[in-house]
């Protein structure tokens, strides 16, 4: 197993008290797998990825659990040990291609920085590697482009530069946090295609963090659905879209407009995500759930698991049979 996240809790210290952004999250990711983490804003998907990278804000801390990367707990690593892993074995693509690049450095200098640091190459060799990487992600005339500044490139090109940077040291795990959200559809298709091809070619695993179920359906092998800091469902992508188990997943799938269907009205999940300072008792989704039972308001459901398929809901028995 490449990455194992076990019972991780990440808490933020706020003026009004502690907020659990990630609450007892566990999942695994194998070598060469594309695992999608889906959820709406505030579900804790980005905080999960930052916890793995050790890039949490100062007021946040992983208070419980383990993050095992190739069997070693990343939470025990010192800052300098993490620096050796970050950008080398694990790298990350951020959401905003417009703001994640340094505006006053040339593309080539930004690309070679991590190559020189991790691969111990000379400046010329690193520049050559940078040009190769830009070519790999489909940037035309890369040897001229390395001299450009970020503002000279379009959004899609900057995102490709980010990918090139993340992949420069052949990482074993790529964390992509909303890699296509800020981009147009035709560029999104290009970027997803690049990630998909590089996975095949380099055999890296990808943790794809997104709110877009369309992107999940296109790219992922397995899916983890998060709601309010918890994993509510986990399944293979085909299973999830064919037969979602958790009422939240069902609602999400029913509420997106689809090109292949004609509906006068979309399904609506009523209400909105609860305030993390003021969570409902029992199941976090109970206030919005159509199938809410009395037990849901009292007791937090445990994860039920069968053949790698997981759901956190009182509707199911431990064998994932529906309780009537």
């Amino acid at each position: 197993m490449l990455l194992e996240v076990k019972n991780v809790k990440t808490e933020f210290k706020m003026k009004k008290g502690m907020v659990k952004a990630v609450n007892d999250v566990s999942f695994q990711c194998e070598k060469g797998e594309i695992l999608a983490i889906v959820g709406e804003s505030g579900s804790g998907k980005s905080v999960t990825s930052l916890s793995i990278m050790g890039l949490l804000a100062r007021n946040a801390k992983v208070t419980e659990g383990e993050i095992l990367f190739k069997g070693e707990n990343l939470l025990d690593k010192s800052a300098s040990e993490m620096r050796a892993i970050r950008g080398n074995q694990i790298s990350m693509i951020f959401q905003e291609p417009m703001t994640s690049l340094n505006p006053v450095l040339r593309i080539g200098d930004q690309l070679t920085e991590s190559i020189i640091l991790h691969m111990k190459l000379s400046k010329q060799e690193a520049m050559q590697r940078a040009v190769e990487m830009l070519e790999l992600v489909g940037i035309p005339s890369p040897s001229q482009r390395v001299k450009d500044y970020p503002h000279q490139m379009s959004g899609g090109m900057r995102q490709r530069v980010m990918i090139a940077m993340a992949l420069a040291c052949n990482p074993e795990l790529l964390i992509a946090d909303e890699p296509t959200t800020a981009l147009d559809v035709t560029i999104q298709a290009q970027i997803l295609d690049i990630i998909y091809r590089l996975r095949e070619k380099l055999g890296m695993a990808v943790l794809l963090i997104t709110h877009d179920l369309g992107v999940v359906a296109e790219a992922a092998d397995r899916v983890v659905v998060m709601y309010c800091g918890k994993v509510v469902e986990e399944a293979k992508v085909e299973e999830l879209f064919e037969k979602p188990l958790h009422p939240y997943t069902m609602g999400l799938l029913a509420s997106i407009p689809r090109a292949d269907e004609d509906k006068e009205k979309l399904y609506m999940i009523k209400g909105m995500v609860p305030n993390p300072m003021n969570m409902p008792a029992g199941c976090a989704f109970s206030d919005r759930c159509e199938k809410c039972m009395s037990i849901c308001k009292e007791q937090e459901p445990a994860i039920r698991e069968k053949d790698g398929r997981k759901v956190r809901c009182h509707l199911y028995t431990n064998d994932l049979e529906v309780i009537h």
Binding site: T186, Q188, A217, P257, A259, K263
Partner: protein, 330 residues
């Protein structure tokens, strides 16, 4: 969704050019053609969708209709009146009829006004109601968009994105408009909230007999809400048809690529789907390609005319399916 045959709004050869750079004598040397010679009609009580990628000019069209920008050339004919020929004073009478709903619900509401005051402001400005009746109207509008009367005195920061978008819609409705230009009204919202706002827009359209110009980049969302859809690329309208016709039988290579790039919500379909991946980026609108705007990224074998002459948008099937492509004419 009944489509009326009465034309509410017609735009003819509408263009908007922005001057990016001037020389010493004030003569423009660099011109950005945001919208270039676009014509279409919007019928009464229909929802007209406009799709395209960023920078294609769809928002600029919406802003020209709402009198935010003055067109460089071309006509906007609303209910038989050419709005461009009116003085600004006369023009203002029509502003009331065409209202905007903006994309970013966080930036489009004044943070220092209560939501009740935000909704009341356009009624005050247009002097639509005597002062003592305004409050009643505000509460009615709040209820229309699914907010509670007791929330009237709260400030925008107390609301979530979806609720703020409802306030934005209520503000647009306040002056009893005929046409609402919805500029990406749901793209900043979470998936579960998107459905709520889309359903609200559909309900309001029925209830008030509204006409929508629905601008968005998500093809699925546009298909859901619109009756007819226009596709724009680099300031030009490339294809226009009834939505089923357009989505099932796209003719323009760009429309085909857009449709094939849109993720399908079915993991089983993705593997046997033939995908058209466009190469490169959208060219700069300051220096667009000669001839057909799409010619630099077109993947269908080129004709000589493609590089030289910009294709006219014409009805090729006789079925009100308009397309601007040299290959369709042959």
């Amino acid at each position: 969704m009944a489509v009326n045959n009465e034309v509410l709004l017609e735009i003819n050869h509408l263009s908007k050019h922005f001057t990016v750079e001037k020389n010493f004598f004030g003569k423009p040397t660099k011109v950005l053609k945001a919208v270039d010679d676009v014509s279409f009609k919007i019928y009464k009580q229909e929802a007209f969708g406009l799709v395209g990628e960023s920078g294609c000019g769809k928002t600029t069209i919406g802003k020209m209709l709402a009198n935010v920008y003055a067109p460089t050339s071309g006509e906007i004919i609303y209910n038989g009146v050419d709005l461009g020929k009116l003085s600004q004073k006369e023009r203002r009478a029509y502003c009331k009829d065409i209202q905007l709903v903006f994309q970013d619900p966080y930036a489009s509401l004044n943070p220092r006004m209560t939501i009740g005051d935000i909704i009341a402001e356009p009624i005050h400005i247009n002097k639509l109601l005597p002062a003592h009746e305004i409050e009643k109207r505000v509460l009615y509008l709040l209820n229309c968009v699914g907010l509670a009367s007791h929330q009237r005195n709260r400030y925008p920061h107390e609301f979530s994105g979806g609720q703020r978008q409802r306030v934005g819609i209520a503000r647009a409705l306040a002056v009893e408009p005929k046409l609402i230009v919805c500029d990406e009204p749901v793209s900043a919202l979470d998936v579960s909230i998107q459905a709520q706002v889309l359903n609200l827009l559909v309900d309001l359209k029925e209830e008030f007999g509204l006409t929508y110009l629905f601008i968005a980049h998500g093809l699925n969302v546009v298909k859901h809400i619109s009756d007819r859809v226009g596709v724009m690329y680099l300031g030009k309208l490339q294809e226009l048809a009834e939505k089923h016709e357009l989505y099932d039988h796209p003719l323009h290579p760009y429309t085909k690529a857009l449709l094939s790039s849109t993720p399908v919500i079915d993991p089983k379909l993705k593997r046997n789907k033939e995908r058209i991946l466009l190469k490169g980026d959208v060219p700069s609108p300051i220096n667009p390609p000669q001839g057909c705007r799409f010619s630099t990224r077109c993947y269908v074998g080129k004709l000589e005319a493609c590089d030289k002459q910009c294709p006219e948008i014409i009805d090729v099937t006789g079925n009100k399916h308009y397309v601007a492509c040299h290959k369709q004419v042959q």
